[in-house]
């Protein structure tokens, strides 16, 4: 697989994630959008490491591991929040706007 293809896939997944975050009102979909963006970044990093080996594989691996850890934590918090809100019957993000000023 060549680098441009992987980059194109990564960009497409990232754009999909942004679309999910910006356009969707369902909290779970937004969370999925965020996860998609992170995955796109991970993919990008790995592909670049493959293509440009002089940058050092270890750095990239460290980055990717950290992103996974963040993703896991984010998923835990997001799903806990989602379940809490779902029990109260709230699934629309636009209903949560009390904390503005």
């Amino acid at each position: 697989m060549t680098l441009p293809v992987v980059l194109g896939v990564s960009l497409a997944v990232f754009a999909l994630g942004i679309y999910g975050v910006l356009a969707k009102r369902d909290i779970l979909r937004i969370a999925i959008g965020g996860t998609l963006m992170l995955s796109a970044v991970t993919l990008l990093l790995v592909a670049l490491a493959q293509a440009l080996p002089q940058q050092g594989m270890a750095t990239v691996q460290a980055f990717v591991l950290v992103v996974w850890a963040v993703e896991a934590v984010e998923a835990i918090v997001a799903i806990a929040l989602f379940l809490y809100l779902a029990r109260k019957g709230i699934t629309d993000i636009d209903e949560l706007r009390e904390l503005k000023w």
Binding site: I18, L22, A23, L96
Partner: protein
């Protein structure tokens, strides 16, 4: 080891502390403690004076700032010695008198407050007269002023007392502002606050003249001389011991003390004729007002102004010894007269002399008041006679015959007004006045001192290193004749009813109207108030409004700006993405 002179204000300061912490049941007896403190102070004054030879100064480092040392300096020369003697001696009498003066109707907390402030006053007054530096003098000077304010307003429930206290404070503060300006000018010109050095360095130039004027204005406001005198008669709204202590015997002497202390400088810049003019105007106005006043204490207040005018006149002629001696005798007989007035007010329940009608004859009050009145009039052989003759002698030697003639007239007038005072208060077959011993004893003591005050003349002049003037001269006899003439005038007009047209004259009604000077100073105060109101208006409607306007605009802006915060997550996410894209584009454009 602290030098002994620094301990002089200490006894009264200790009494103040005692008064502040005293339990309620001891409040009435604080007066005895104050008397003891006065006696201790007197002892300390003489011990420290005997410790040195003649003029002595003691120095103690106060604080250093900007690479300069500001020492506490105590000067104990003849002038300070006599004045601190006056403060402690009258202090003994006044504290004792206060015990009898305040009856059971005063609350103990009020009495503690009274004794605390009175001791504060005594200590700071000692500070004024002992100060060797102008800075230190000014600090004590302000303490004296504020304790005067607090004591005049002792009965703070009485509107009249509060009004008088405010008037006194404001009038004195006008003078204080001038005094401070004068002190700062001297400091700028000669680079020191030390009085002795300033006097030694003094040169007659414009800056020194301005400083001297500031000092004189400060002095006349404190000593109730024309035109800043209107506060003194009103200050009689305070308790009588306060009137005796502050507003006749000691505090009002602070101004004259300052004039005497700075006299070489004032004479150097040629203020002597102006001092004399101020003194003569004060003497003339106050004598006329004393002749028509019906309130027993206010009449005495005018006579205080009058007698202080005599002292100022002596000082203008350069006669420090004579002026100081008159301050000494005046303190004795005027405090005595106030003591008598207090007893009379207690006995009759009125301050209106026309309604007092106290018994004349062989009763203690009539006798001690008579001694005080005769001393004030300058009757031989009482103390007032000798001190007045020394002033006369100085004026004659100065050789300005207009001033001498005016002085002679003033002698006649002062005899006339004090005789009128006495004749109004005491009448044949009137009521008998009883007073507790704490009130009578100080009066009797001061009466004895007024009787024997003439003996101190040689001693006082000796302290100044001068020979006392001869007592028996043609001038003395002339002034004695004028005193008798003054008595006669009063006798004829008050008792025999001659010259009944006199109270109807324009002069008398002008004096009753206080020569409109009270109205004048009230007018000045009102004008100042107008200026203050205008400033307040400008402050409120221009300065504050601008500040408030900025705040209101900022608020409106913020209210508009917060609409950006929708609370919708999508908005924020969009802002983040758009911001990131904009940033990337911007960086790309800059490359």
């Amino acid at each position: 080891m602290i030098p002994l002179p620094f301990l002089i204000p200490l006894p009264f300061a200790l009494v103040m502390l005692c008064a502040l912490v005293a339990p309620a049941r001891a409040a009435r007896r604080l007066g005895y403690l104050g008397s003891l403190a006065g006696a201790a102070t007197l002892l300390l004054v003489f011990l420290s004076y005997a410790g040195g030879t003649g003029t002595q100064a003691a120095t103690w480092t106060w604080f250093g700032a900007a690479g300069e040392q500001f020492p506490l300096t105590i000067t104990l020369d003849a002038l300070s010695l006599v004045l601190s003697g006056i403060v402690s001696l009258i202090g003994v009498a006044v504290f004792l008198y206060s015990v009898g003066y305040f009856g059971d109707e005063e609350r103990p907390s009020d009495l503690s407050r009274y004794y605390a402030i009175l001791s504060l006053f005594a200590a700071s007054m000692l500070g004024v007269v002992l100060s060797g530096s102008l800075l230190q003098l000014f600090v004590c000077w302000e303490l004296v002023g504020i304790s005067s304010y607090l004591l005049i307003g002792f009965w703070h429930g009485k509107d009249e007392a509060m009004r008088a206290a405010r008037k006194a404070l404001l009038t004195i503060l006008v003078g204080d502002a001038f005094l401070l300006a004068g002190i700062m000018l001297l400091r700028a010109r000669y680079g020191t606050f030390d009085i002795a050095r300033v006097l030694a360095l003094a040169r007659p130039d414009t800056l020194t003249l301005l400083a001297a004027i500031g000092i004189v204005v400060g002095a006349i406001s404190k000593s109730a001389q024309f035109p800043l005198h209107a506060w003194l008669p009103d200050a009689m709204a305070g308790p009588t011991p306060v009137s005796a202590f502050l507003h006749s015997a000691t505090m009002v002497k602070a101004g004259l003390f300052l004039v005497a202390r700075m006299l070489p400088l004032l004479l150097l810049v040629g203020l002597s004729p102006w001092l004399a003019a101020l003194a003569l105007v004060t003497i003339a106005l106050s004598a006329c007002m004393a002749l028509v006043e019906t309130d027993i204490k206010r009449a005495l207040a005018y006579s205080t102004m009058n007698q202080l005018g005599f002292v100022l006149l002596a000082l203008s002629a350069g006669a420090v010894a004579a002026g100081t001696y008159h301050m000494l005798t005046h303190s004795m007989f005027k405090a005595l007269l106030f003591f008598a007035a207090g007893i009379a007010i207690h006995a009759t329940g009125t301050q209106d002399m026309a309604r007092m009608r106290l018994a004349l004859g062989a009763n203690a009050l009539a006798i001690v008041a008579g001694i005080g009145a005769l001393a004030l009039a300058g009757m031989v052989p009482l103390s007032g006679f000798f001190s007045k003759e020394t002033i006369l002698d100085a004026l004659v030697r100065q050789g300005n015959w207009t001033i001498v003639a005016c002085f002679m007239l003033a002698v006649l007038l002062s005899a006339a007004y004090i005789a009128r005072w006495y004749l109004l208060v005491f009448a044949r077959g009137g009521r008998d006045a009883r007073a507790p011993w704490q009130m009578m004893a100080p009066a009797v003591g001061l009466a004895l001192l007024s009787l024997a005050g003439g003996l101190a003349m040689g001693k006082v002049f000796g302290l100044f290193g001068e020979a006392a003037p001869p007592v028996l001269t043609p001038w003395t006899l002339l002034s004695l004749a004028l005193v008798l003439a003054g008595f006669l005038c009063t006798y004829l007009s008050c008792v025999r009813g001659w010259a009944a047209w006199l109270p109807g004259t324009a002069l008398a009604s002008a004096a009753r109207a206080r020569f409109l000077l009270d109205d004048l100073s009230a007018g000045v105060a009102r004008a100042a108030l107008g200026v203050a109101r205008a400033c307040a208006w400008i402050d409120g409607n221009v300065v504050d409004r601008a500040v408030r306007g900025v705040a209101v605009r900022m608020g409106a802006l913020a209210r508009g700006a917060r609409r950006m915060q929708t609370g919708r997550v999508a908005t924020y996410a969009f802002a983040i993405v758009a911001g990131f894209i904009a940033l990337v584009l911007l960086l790309g454009a800059l490359r």
